[in-house]
């Protein structure tokens, strides 16, 4: 709604009586102008306002003065004695209330306020208003702050469950826990989750389970239902009990679309009971995969490590070999072998050389040899006694034994005649 600020030229068809005649307002005139505008506004003539009562004072006159506020704003309220006397309850500071009245201005202070005709405690018929009121108030207190939210344990050993033992929600939660993470122990704190008795029971169950030292996380769950069915989870006592829990609380109330005050206060809001269980525990299949990966990394790390060790071992062994006296000995041995080989090669060469020379001489010798002449049919005749070669007849007497050499051997012969006597034998 837009307020019409007075202009220096008031609307001419129906000029306000307080409108300035010379373009300048007086304070009273302007206040009266605003007061009339507010009093004539159809929205503000008769309205209901929900909020938290604060700054409540009961004047000696019997009039009630207080403020209705929510998280962001406050409106001054006044309730005249006549109306105040009709109240059948005692409004208190901090109480949520539903006021009915109209807006007007109190000129001496220039403040607009709600003139309350009737004031009721914000009742069951005003669930939504009460929800908003409580939400606003708890938010203002900081109960929904992100810094308040605690992380959930990665591997909860004991999962506390606050719900009705008969509810399908419990079965859903247990199914999920069984499937995903049967390592956990489920600890049920039974409570009603619906009706007038539900809020104090939920509070007691939360406190009982939170008092346990072995609990790691608490699931506060309830299946779907109407706004009234879920109302216990919009109860301030429940909200404060959640906030007071030492252990992290996961809420899973109703369906995806249902938001309760408990959801806002809880450390984690799940859309459904099953989802609450899923958020609270890890999944066995994922964990098994994690273990497999861990083992693979162990093997890879070990293999890398071993390969490294093996390589440095290899390098060291090579260095050792290089520096070993045996290696040097082997080198020496080889040198000896080399030299020996060279020596024998040189010797053989030398021998061959000489052998060839010898053969050359032999060939020449053979060419000069009388044996070659014998081949052609000549014979060599010697005196057997002296071995002299007979070159002339004068050397032979009859009866001398001769040795006759031919190509393939020697045979003996006796000279049948000779040119001289034995005594006159010529001497060579």
């Amino acid at each position: 709604m837009q307020y019409q600020f007075p202009s220096f030229q008031p609307p001419s068809p129906d000029p306000d009586p307080q409108a300035p005649t010379h373009g300048v307002w007086t304070v009273s005139d302007l206040t009266l102008y605003i007061k009339e505008r507010l009093e004539l506004d159809p929205e503000l003539m008769d309205l209901q306002l929900v909020g938290e009562i604060s700054n409540l004072t009961r004047a000696a006159s019997g009039h009630l003065y207080f403020t209705l506020k929510d998280a962001e704003a406050a409106i001054s309220c006044v309730m005249w004695r006549a109306a105040a006397e009709r109240l059948r309850w005692q409004p208190e500071h901090g109480a949520a209330a539903l006021a009915r009245g109209h807006i007007s201005v109190y000129p001496p202070r220039g403040s607009y306020q709600l003139y309350v005709d009737d004031l009721k405690p914000a009742g069951l018929g005003d669930l939504h208003a009460r929800f908003e009121e409580l939400k606003g108030r708890l938010m203002a207190e900081g109960l929904f702050e992100a810094e308040r939210k605690r992380p959930l344990p990665a591997f909860p050993r004991v999962v506390g469950i606050v719900t009705s033992p008969q509810a399908a929600a419990l079965r859903d939660v247990l199914n999920v826990l069984h499937r995903r993470y049967p390592l956990a122990r489920a600890l049920l704190a039974p409570t009603q989750v619906q009706g007038d008795q539900a809020p104090p029971q939920i509070v007691a169950a939360l406190q009982a389970i939170d008092a346990r030292k072995d609990v790691d996380v608490i699931l506060l769950v309830r299946g779907g239902g109407s706004l009234e069915d879920l109302w216990a989870f919009n109860d301030e006592r429940v909200a404060r009990a959640i906030a007071a829990c030492r252990h992290p609380v996961v809420s899973g109330v109703g369906h995806e679309t249902d938001f309760t005050i408990a959801d806002f206060v809880a450390d984690l809001r799940a859309p459904t009971p099953s989802a609450a269980a899923e958020l609270a525990v890890p999944d066995r299949a994922e964990l098994q995969q994690l273990i497999v990966t861990g083992k693979e990394r162990l093997v890879a790390g070990m293999e890398r490590r071993l390969a490294h060790v093996r390589q440095s071992l290899q390098e060291n062994r090579r260095s050792l070999q290089r520096l070993s006296p045996y290696t040097r000995l082997a080198t020496h041995r080889q040198q000896v072998d080399d030299l020996t080989q060279r020596a024998s090669r040189a010797l053989a060469y030398n021998l061959n050389l000489r052998r060839s020379a010898l053969e050359g001489v032999e060939a020449r010798l053979a060419a000069l040899s009388p044996l070659a002449t014998l081949d052609r049919g000549y014979a060599i005749v010697r005196l057997t006694d002296s071995g002299e070669v007979v070159r002339s007849t004068g050397q032979v007497c009859a009866g001398d034994v001769l040795a006759i050499r031919v190509k393939d051997g020697e045979f003996g012969a006796v000279a049948a005649s000779g040119s001289q006597q034995e005594s006159e034998r010529v001497r060579e």
Partner: protein, 71 residues
Amino acid sequence: MSDELEKLSFEQAIGELEVTVQRLEGGDLSLAEAIALYERGMHLAQHCNDVLDAAELQVQELAQPGSGPEA
């Protein structure tokens, strides 16, 4: 597998497995240390698997607060 390992909770075992793997991957270890870590890691992984395989969800109910002992 040692008794000491048997006593480890799943959370402790898988936490130690992660640390063991990281140390082994980090290098800068003697061979003896690496082997010890490797064996420890394999035992931890086995223990984790055993725990997961053997687990059965246990459900326990607290007495309802505010109700009598007969409840």
